[in-house]
Amino acid sequence: MNEYVLRLYVTGQTSRAARAIANLRQLCEIELQDRFRIDVIDVLEHPELAEAERILATPTLVRQLPPPLRRVIGDLSETSKVLLGLDIWPSAQAGPTDTGPSRDGDGATPLE
């Protein structure tokens, strides 16, 4: 079910944190439909988790699953970089039926 498990580390209720959460949700809904789960962790409430994961910058997005671990830093406003960082190949939504280079079957879900 949850093919993608994503953890987003943020600091408190800042606008940057809110922006990152919104950007991530939007992107996942478009690219991953219902195949993802997002855990948001506030480092002010759970510094021990930040310590365990050795988080420096916030927001930091960690792709827990599928392996390997991957990280993206920032408010996730640069969508193409986020996709690159998460190793998600964009589906054909943006352009007209672009088959594209389907590398490891991530984006192989047929739409029609």
Binding site: T11, P47, I55, T60, G74, D75, S77
Partner: protein, 503 residues
């Protein structure tokens, strides 16, 4: 006058450091430590926490940006700091912010270092830290390429450290020993207190120095102070010109070990004086030192001899040749002979070792044979600092110190040692070769003696199995000290006849 509370100092307990820093680091503030690669920044950062823990000064947090926590733990073992043990006791905490080689993060948008700050605050409250070290700032600028963001965030962290009441050390790289304070303009956010560590190549030897560039609003000693990094101890700062001239002065006379010499000095050396014996090789300097030791032992004093030119066996054999039995003196516990080649260590290390030996053995007299042998392992500046450091230390102990110095020229001449220490010595004895009509003789004179009348003659002396025998003054010979002895007047026979008035 308004009473503004002055900035308190936190004693670091790093040897010598607190003296130079006039009490320690400004308490509750952040101090920037800058230095080139290999200038012992990490050691200072770790030692600051280690000494705090060892001297009951509270726990510490070590934030590492460059080496991993595991590397720091291991590297500092050599100094005898059991970091893993302190971590288990909850007195030391790491915040490991070193780059993770497995996960290369991608940057996609605006960010801050809130994670780091949260982890620091967490670690501080977990161990109840009062001290914090961060090593080293340059590495975080290479992890995160947006230096404007990093600078803004580091400023925020610096403010947080102050709010937490931490006394903190931040290290940063420099590109040159003399030039801009640090890379990336980090001094912009921790500008109150700046310490510079240097590791300068002088001649062919490395010389480490520490300089407190500024402590805002609180005093410190100015200029560069040499320091050494010692196995099993860490950094030891040598506070040279911070030494105060406040030693007491005594008018108690002690014997030089030679009756005639005592006579020339108006009854002996003063108990707490520094004596310099200078002469060319083979003029009898080691003999003078040997007799000085024997004289002390004869009175039941503890004597310490540092030898830098001859091995133990040679020294003992020579002493035997002059009728002095060093073996028995050592067995009686009244003599300690400490031999080392000057090349085995840097001058700072020699100085620290000699001070330790003096403190441990507590001698009443110390001899160094020869001081000038140490000249060759250091640049002139390092050597001068060494000489001042050693002589002032001996003076503070209120004991007698006899140094020998070799002059480069066989006849006459002066040495660098003389130039450096002649003003801090209380007594100077010159030993010289005197060539008279194809014959080499030896002469000695007391050039200066503080606080006492002394013999102004240049006297001949001979050396045999009984040691040194001081004879009559040279008469009608001039230019001995300049190295160009020449008779003053009269016919040849007259001169020879009158040379030693009673012969």
């Amino acid at each position: 006058m308004t009473s503004i509370r002055s900035i308190a100092k936190l004693e670091t307990h790093i040897p010598g450091f607190d003296h130079v820093a006039d009490g320690g680091l400004p308490m509750g503030r952040t101090t920037l430590v800058c230095g080139t690669a290999g200038s012992a920044k990490t050691i200072l950062a770790a030692q600051f926490l280690a000494e705090g823990i060892r001297h009951g000064g509270g726990s510490g947090v070590f934030v590492t940006f460059e080496e991993s926590a595991g590397d720091v733990r291991q590297n500092m073992m050599g100094f005898g700091w059991d970091i893993a043990g302190w971590e288990a006791e909850g007195r030391w905490a790491f915040v490991d912010a070193s780059p993770d080689p497995d996960v290369e993060p991608l940057i996609a948008g605006d960010y801050d270092l809130g994670g780091l700050l949260a982890r620091i605050e967490h670690a501080v409250s977990r161990v109840g830290a009062t001290r914090l070290s961060m090593d080293s700032l340059g590495a975080i600028f290479t992890q995160f390429t947006d230096s404007a963001t990093v600078r803004r965030e580091m400023f925020r962290i610096a403010v947080a450290l102050k709010r937490l009441g931490l006394t903190a050390l931040l290290t940063a790289e420099r590109t040159a020993e003399y030039g801009e304070i640090a890379r990336y303009g980090v001094e912009e956010f921790v500008a109150d207190n700046v310490i510079i560590l240097r590791n300068v190549l002088e001649g062919e030897t490395r010389r480490r120095t520490m300089e407190i560039l500024k402590f805002r609003g609180t005093p410190h000693h100015k200029g560069e102070y040499p320091f050494a990094v010692i196995n099993g101890e860490g950094m030891v700062v040598i506070p040279l010109s911070a030494i105060e001239l406040k030693q007491k002065s005594s008018d108690i006379r002690i014997t030089s070990g030679n009756d005639a010499m005592d006579g020339m000095c108006g009854g002996g050396f003063f108990r707490d004086s520094i004596i310099l014996a200078s002469g060319a090789t083979g003029t009898g300097k080691t003999l003078l030192a040997t007799e000085f030791m024997a004289g002390g032992v004869g009175l039941g004093e503890r004597c310490l001899l540092f030898a830098f030119e001859e091995s133990r066996e040679q020294l003992f054999r020579n002493a035997r040749g002059w009728g002095v039995g060093f073996e028995r003196m050592e067995q009686d516990g009244l003599l300690k002979v400490n031999c080392a080649y000057p090349e085995t260590d840097g001058l700072e290390d020699h100085l620290i070792r000699m001070k330790r030996t003096i403190q441990a053995y507590r001698p009443q007299r110390v001899a160094v044979d020869s001081l000038s042998a140490l000249e060759r392992v250091s640049g002139p500046r390092g050597y001068r600092e060494f000489v001042i450091g050693l002589t002032s230390f001996i003076k503070q102990q209120e004991i007698a110190g006899l140094f020998t110095a070799t002059t480069p020229n066989l006849l006459g001449g002066e040495s660098v040692t003389e130039a450096h220490i002649s003003t801090i010595t209380d007594l100077i004895i010159l030993l010289r070769y005197v060539e008279i009509y194809g014959e080499m003789r030896r002469g000695l004179t007391v050039l200066k003696m503080r606080g006492s009348r002394h013999d102004k003659d240049i006297r001949e002396f001979t050396i045999d199995a009984g040691g040194m025998h001081v004879g009559k003054p040279f008469r009608q010979v001039t230019g001995i000290l300049a190295g160009t002895p020449r008779h003053a007047s009269g016919g040849e026979l007259d001169v020879i006849h009158n040379l030693f008035s009673n012969e």
